[in-house]
Amino acid sequence: MNDYSITILTFIAIQAIVACGLNVIVGYAGQISLGHAAFFGIGAYASALLTTKGGLTFWTALPLVILLTGAIGLVLGMPSLRLREDFLAVTTIGINFIVESVFLYVPFFGGALGLGGIPSITLLGTRLRGPNFLYLCLVFLAAVLFISRRFTRSWGGLACFALREEETAASSMGVSPIRFKLLAFVLGTAMAGLGGALYAHLMRFISATDFGFTLSVSMMSMVVLGGIGTLWGPVLGALILGVLPEVFRPLIDYRMLLNAAILLLMIRFQPAGLLGEGSLLRRLFRRPGRDSAHE
């Protein structure tokens, strides 16, 4: 594989991590979020600042970055998740624009120039580049998938499924709606924070426009395309949306249009996504006797 393909795959792995986080919020807990890129950005800026101005290494900064992103998710989610679905959609878009503006206009965050000089990641004394950086991202992706799976198998995950399906009934069975929506939101935003940190140290230079609303829409397209609420859906979605424009070069200029079109087409014709319940793919490759409702 050449350097270029490796870079593309690394991007895909990072986006898959972030999309998995969105899937926890949207797929498992059924909460619409159209501002996920904001938390990706918060992770990236946090890691960039901690490693440049804060003097930490990627590794010592990472736990702080994940905690911080999750904490900001908690604070922003607390008022938002009490809102009705349509207001939540608008609020999360708003969060995305506000966060982007803060990065863009507050000098501390580098303003329009962005943040540069972000150190690369070293592991056991060697600087991770090319394929090694990709492997690191894949290891983190595996961890995120593992946590997602654990979550769906925990009582908290089941509580989220119940809330997604019928909030009043779930509440009457002891599920506090706000507590478990927040749990999913914090978990999902923390995953976005992890993805952001990897992104910052891959690029070594970040700016506010990397984390705009269009990216949030792409993330949503990945989740919906792959299969909302499925374990592997976000990964498949990230892979397809990442590879398509590379295979069909002219698509690169229409990336945004492609993402939006896929989002709308999937919602219209295959709302469960490629890997969802009752989808074409699933009917083709049915594994008998497996209950996939909570994967």
């Binding site: 198998r153 925990s154 009582w155 908290g156 995950g157 089941l158 509580a159 499924f161 119940a162 399906e165 019928e166 009043t168 009934a169 779930a170 509440s171 009457s172 069975m173 002891g174 599920v175 506090s176 709606p177 507590r179 478990f180 749990l183 319940e277 209950d291 409702a293 909570h294």
Partner: protein
Amino acid sequence: MNDLLLRLEGVSRHFGGLKAVDDVSFSLTRGEILGLIGPNGAGKTTCFNLISGVYAPTKGDIVLEGVSTAGFPPYRMAALGVGRTFQVVKPFSTLSVLNNVQVALGLKRYGGVLSSLGPWDTKASRKEALEILEEVGIGHLAASPSGQLPLGNQRRLELARALALKPKLLLLDETFSGLRHEEAALLSKLVLGVRARGISVLLIEHNMKVAMGLSDRLVVLDHGRLLAEGKPEEIRSDPRVVEAYLGKGASAHAS
């Protein structure tokens, strides 16, 4: 009396100008089956929503085991021992029938984030959920997606989920309607069995034969107000009750 479980004290709930429940008081003792009857729109379901915390009362108080619970959210009422079914069934549609019951089995786990991290789909929880489904007679449907069941079976699933909460107070909102005779008979026996375990049952039922047959006492609502209260035989011969029903053309149910 210390075997008092639930008391409504002058409870009202208004929706805009409509007094859905208007200054209603009644109480329920441990192990009692109380029938809540009245014509369509009388405010029965609204009473359930008040007791289970779905709505807060506009006025008045609700006291469960000596604790004033007016304004408590549903998940707190569930934790305090109130289990309910919904007249308009509310299954977790994409989950299987079994998984629906397992949600209710998690009641004790949802109290804190840490306790909710344990695995839910264990052998023990599957077994327990299946036993409850068998009790209500839909054990054979455990693997079906709950959203696609016929209404009668969805009502039985409602009951199974409420039972899985191991409540002190069970609220049944027209759980018997739409069931065949022998299915209803099975559930009647089940309700009597539940009561024998000391659980109190508050029961909304349009079928007078079922309501009169099961209930120790009846409370009659009409236009949000408490119209009458008493033993089935007293209610049956109460002229106000007969009038309320005749006026609504529901007398056919009473025959």
